[in-house]
């Protein structure tokens, strides 16, 4: 892949929207090209700044109450629903709703045509900060439903955050305990070494439950092509 193609693919790479082959090619080019690396670092800095600082405007309670009164089911569950929504608004993260996450995974399935139904072996790709909470919850649900599934979680790009010592979710819970719980049920956590170098993390900052692999993208590719894993991005 040359500079021109890399520039074109860089946003897709940043957004984890590339097919694995393309992502690998971008990664390879970035390793050898300082100019594209700077370009990529700048785009990532923009993305990080926006995600870190952009304001989530919570819907006013009065609006939620009005909508609930008007469109809620009338069998008395409305009050409970209002309470549930306040929780969602308080977390400021309606984007984490489960349905949305599974549909997100579905769009990848269309491409890889491998994981229409969750099969025996699944590699879960976490590449965004903030998506780990929903991903882990989904995994737990999924394991509940089909306990025989072998799951490998590969954290890459901003997705590595939750595997750092002391990392907490939006409600202040340590990720480490959720990870330990899943690990006790056989889920394997692997973290991308390239990402650690790029984001200037030290491997000592990674929780011991996670295993370091040289490249997250290459690991996913290997699991898919050599070990028959189905791919899910969460």
């Amino acid at each position: 892949m040359n500079c021109k193609e890399t520039t074109r693919f860089l946003h897709g790479y940043l957004d984890a929207e590339l097919a694995l082959g393309d992502a690998l090619a971008v990664e390879e080019h970035l390793q050898g090209c300082p100019r594209c690396r700077t370009h990529h670092a700048n785009l990532r800095a923009v993305q990080t700044a926006v995600r870190r600082h952009i304001e989530h405007h919570a819907a006013p309670a009065s609006l939620r109450a009005r909508l609930a009164a008007r469109y809620g089911d009338e069998d008395g569950s409305t009050a409970a629903s209002t309470r549930r929504w306040s929780g969602v608004a308080a977390a400021g993260a309606a984007a984490l709703l489960l349905a949305a996450v599974w549909i997100g995974a579905g769009s990848v399935d269309d491409r890889s045509k491998r994981a229409a139904q969750l099969p025996a072996k699944v590699v879960v790709h976490i590449s965004q900060s903030g998506s780990a909470t929903a991903a882990l919850r989904n995994l737990a649900n999924h394991l509940e439903a089909s306990p025989g599934t072998t799951v490998v979680v590969v954290a890459h790009n901003e997705g590595v955050d939750f595997l750092m010592r002391g990392a907490r979710d939006a409600s202040g819970q340590l990720y480490e305990s959720a990870v330990a719980k899943l690990k006790s049920r056989g889920v394997d956590f692997r973290i991308c070494g390239n990402t650690l170098v790029r984001l200037k993390f030290d491997s000592g900052q990674v929780i011991p439950a996670a295993t370091l692999v040289p490249s997250g993208v290459a690991e996913i590719s290997r699991l898919q092509t050599q070990e028959g894993y189905a791919y899910l991005r969460l």
Partner: protein, 190 residues
């Protein structure tokens, strides 16, 4: 599935699939209309339409479907207010798309520095994102704030995936330059 759902069943399904997204809906609305009262109005109108057309909705993930309605409602509201001569809270900026062909390579004089961008603060980010022309602002908001996939953004904004990518690229490039430039100004005190 072809005939309309009984009323009670429809309400239950609507409550389960559509009502929980009111926070996301409001958030998108406020970033599009840039005004709290109008964002509330847009969300209420969007829910009204969503309920009306809910029989036609299939599937389990109503979020992109609802956001598309919210987006349309916001632009209708903006156009209506313009006709009525109400104060224009909708900031077009000076980089309208008509001057930039999709995917065009635009040269910027500045050579932004990663460290400068990284030092951007909360207030600066709000200001720079708020100043983006609407067509770039909406894809940035849908992507970074709502964490929508390209496919979902394409469905919500009713544009091809290629356009999602070129608008996102252009939006980020504008932000890159704006964030870098403001930080520089702050440092030199001008």
């Amino acid at each position: 599935m072809g005939r309309p759902l009984p009323e009670q069943q429809k309400r239950k399904r609507f409550e389960r699939l559509v009502l929980p997204h009111s926070g996301t809906a409001y958030n998108l609305a406020i970033w599009l209309v840039r005004n709290e009262a109008q964002a509330e109005e847009a969300v209420q109108e969007a829910y009204l339409r969503a309920f009306q057309y809910f029989d036609a909705f299939r599937g389990e993930n109503a979020r992109p479907w609802l956001l598309r309605i919210v987006r349309n409602t916001c632009y209708t509201l903006i156009a209506r207010n313009r006709e009525l001569g109400e104060p224009d809270v909708f900031d077009e900026g000076d980089h309208g798309e008509e001057t930039v062909a999709p995917g065009a390579v635009v040269s910027f004089p500045a050579n932004p520095e990663t460290a400068a961008i990284e030092s951007a603060d909360r207030e600066l980010v709000q200001r720079c994102v708020g100043a983006l022309p609407a067509e770039f602002r909406e894809v940035v908001i849908l992507r970074e704030l709502q964490e929508c996939s390209y496919k979902e953004i394409s469905a919500i904004a009713e544009i091809p995936i290629g356009t999602v990518m070129s608008r996102l690229a252009r939006g980020r490039r504008l932000l890159e330059v704006a964030l870098d430039r403001h930080v520089e100004r702050k440092e030199t005190g001008t």
